[in-house]
């Protein structure tokens, strides 16, 4: 007998694939552009939850700074889209810079004339930052809550930076590119099907990639480090290198989320770097189950979906409900909804086996 279905790898892959196929087929039944855009936003949130699940659930690193990668990439994408609108000859400088008395385009913005360079920077800068920042932390063997505090401090630093560098980032107002993102001749309408499919595509590719990675040797070592870093070190593994790599991968996923986010909202402001957002990502992952990537995705959709539909009705008490749910999940369901499913399937399979397999076990023990 196969035992608990939850741990069956083939069943897992089928569920993951099924979920993404369903998500990709949504535009066939939903033709309300607003709903579609809403679902695209949830997919972005889901990517963030996946990045948290990877680094925290699998790596044991509770990073409260995933917003750094998200925010940096969001700014990169915002700059790329803004420069797509500008004209090198007649209108070379974004209007908010003119109101900030900037006479020429800052050097920082120059590469974003090229969409390709802009996209590469959008994804590579946050990832590289996570490599450097991760190396800084993990080589010093910083662990546990100290990681949380250092990442939150770094996030707060970037937040105030985005706020303060008004001539470069438009400060509090943020950058709102006037036109949708376009690739070649094709323009991605934020409310259109292609933009939605790009978001779902990113989500599917990143999640499946991450899941595959967690089944490789790398994934096993990372989980071993989570369970006992000292033991892994004594076995000869370079713990810091594995942690930095995992941290950087999670940063890359969050950066992809930032890219998609600005594509579907056409706006970026320091709110992308707010502490509450980064903690909220952790909440989504925790509710859905941090040890399961799909669980984290479900958590992101569920929390945000309830927030949009219930939140309008119960605006006054929604945060009370969310806070209470969250405390309850942490206290009663440390593995989130995915853990609940695991438990149910366990009951199911052990119920089936109890008649024949338990005596076997007893016999083995006796022998």
């Amino acid at each position: 007998m196969g035992g608990n279905l939850y741990h069956n790898k083939r069943a897992q892959w089928l569920t993951y694939l099924g979920a993404f196929v369903l998500l990709a087929l949504v535009p066939l039944i939903v033709d309300n552009p607003f709903t579609l855009n809403q679902l695209a936003r949830y997919s972005v949130y889901a990517m963030l939850a996946v990045s948290v699940s990877l680094v925290w659930g699998y790596g044991g690193i509770l990073s409260l700074g995933q917003g750094i990668a998200f925010g940096l990439a969001a700014y990169g994408m915002g700059m790329t889209m803004q420069m797509q609108f500008q004209d090198p000859e007649y209108d070379p400088i974004p209007s908010f810079m003119l109101t900030n008395e900037l006479e020429s385009l800052p050097l920082l913005w120059e590469p974003f004339w090229s969409t390709t360079a802009g996209l590469i920077l959008t994804l590579s800068v946050p990832t590289l930052f996570f490599v450097v920042f991760g190396a800084l932390m993990f080589q010093a063997r910083v662990a546990g809550v100290f990681v949380s505090i250092m990442t939150i401090a770094m996030l707060a630093a970037w937040y105030s930076m985005a706020y303060d560098m008004q001539p470069f980032t438009a400060g509090f107002n943020g950058i709102s590119p006037p036109l949708p993102f376009s690739l070649g001749e094709f323009s991605f309408d934020p409310y259109g099907v292609p933009a939605y499919l790009v978001c779902v595509g990113f989500l599917a590719a990143l999640t499946l990639g991450a899941k595959f990675l967690m089944h490789t040797k790398f994934g096993l070592i990372v989980q071993a480090i989570r369970d006992d870093a000292e033991r892994a070190r004594m076995l000869g593994y370079n713990v810091a290198a594995y942690q930095v790599t995992l941290f950087a991968i999670s940063g890359f996923i969050a950066a992809c989320a930032g890219l998609c986010w600005v594509m579907i909202v056409q706006y970026v402001s320091p709110t992308a770097l707010e502490i509450t957002l980064s903690i909220a990502m952790v909440v989504w992952a925790a509710v859905g189950g941090r040890l399961s990537l799909l669980g984290a995705i479900v958590g992101a959709f569920l929390v945000n979906g309830t927030q949009s539909y219930l939140g309008d009705e119960l605006q006054q008490v929604w945060l009370l409900v969310l806070g209470a749910i969250f405390i309850a999940v942490v206290l009663l369901l440390p593995k989130g909804l995915a853990g609940l499913l695991e438990l149910c399937l366990e009951r199911l399979s052990s119920g089936k086996r109890s008649s024949d397999s338990r005596p076997d076990l007893a016999k083995e023990v006796a022998e």
Partner: protein, 300 residues
């Protein structure tokens, strides 16, 4: 934006004034961090709702002052009592089951902070409230280059007094001995008959109460909003961690960070100073994760 707008050149007297502002800032950060040091230091609990304890202190001071008409000096100890009681309840219900899972406390207390913010918003509304500054603090100390308001001086005095009180409590009383014993080795302390669960509950309540007083003072400096606490939480944590999660370390690191922040903002501006300071703290923790002063206690 030219370089000159951004960079203020050095001149002696304004710089000295910046140093005095630094002391005032340090006293505020110290007050915000004091309760956190006690809670984190004793239990290893990352209390993300600490900012909301400050907020509750501010609002209870507001209630005692505006609705009951009590004098400011009476409101502060009453705020201590109110927030300490709330802290005790929270410790018994939410924090206690999670002592073995410190990362999860961080999450649970964040859920708690959502509830506290929204609860206060439902009761008092989202509009700003004010704590009145008493008459006798309405003066400004003006020496040639320094100018500090009476309230700021009062805050510095209260900060010093609370540190002294906490020091006496921790190092000169029987209860303090028990707290330090539990901090160092919980099982060993228990085997000598210390009721660790009770020590935890009382220390948590005391730390929350300190935040209550601090919040009352912050309410007098700034306007009251239900989410005012989030403005202090990051700084408070950095002060605690840089100090090495220990009373004297917290005092030193609050002084140091407050002064550095004030000096940086003198040369540049407030937000940029914050960026530089936070980055420096991250780099500092890389090289000295145990903080400025470490007692060699088991790290959590």
């Amino acid at each position: 934006m030219s370089v000159h707008d951004f960079w203020t050149p050095f001149s002696f007297l304004p710089f000295l004034n910046a140093l005095f502002i630094g002391i005032s800032l340090a006293s505020i950060w110290l007050l915000a961090a004091l309760g956190l040091t006690i809670i984190y230091g004793t239990m290893g609990v990352i209390n993300l709702a600490h900012g909301e304890f400050l907020m509750l202190g501010a609002y209870s001071t507001f209630v005692f002052q505006s609705l009951l008409g009590l004098p400011f000096l009476v409101c502060l100890p009453l705020s201590f009592m109110v927030v300490a009681t709330i802290g005790l309840l929270i410790e018994r219900t939410i924090v206690r089951p999670l002592y073995a899972r410190p990362l999860d406390t961080l999450l649970a207390t964040w859920g708690l902070s959502l509830i506290l913010i929204q609860g206060v918003r439902l009761i008092f509304g989202g509009e700003p409230q004010y704590v009145g500054v008493p008459e006798w603090l309405n003066f400004v100390l003006q020496a040639s280059f320094i100018s500090l308001s009476g309230l700021r001086i009062f805050i510095i005095v209260v900060a010093i007094a609370l540190v002294a009180l906490t020091w006496i409590l921790l190092y000169r009383t029987r209860f303090g001995v028990m707290v330090r014993a539990v901090m160092e080795d919980k099982e060993m302390a228990q085997s000598f008959g210390v009721n660790a669960s009770r020590v935890y509950a009382l220390t948590f309540a005391y730390g929350a109460g300190l935040a209550g007083i601090a919040g009352g003072l912050f309410g007098a400096v700034k306007t009251l909003f239900p989410d005012m606490g989030s403005g202090y939480i990051v700084e408070a944590f950095l002060v605690v961690v840089v100090g090495g999660v220990q009373l004297v370390g917290t005092v030193i690191s609050a002084g140091l960070l407050g002064e550095l922040n004030s000096v940086f903002s003198y040369f540049t501006n407030d937000t940029f100073a914050r960026f530089v300071l936070f980055t420096m703290v991250v780099v500092f923790l890389r090289f000295r994760p145990q903080g400025l002063i470490s007692e060699g206690v088991t790290r959590r």
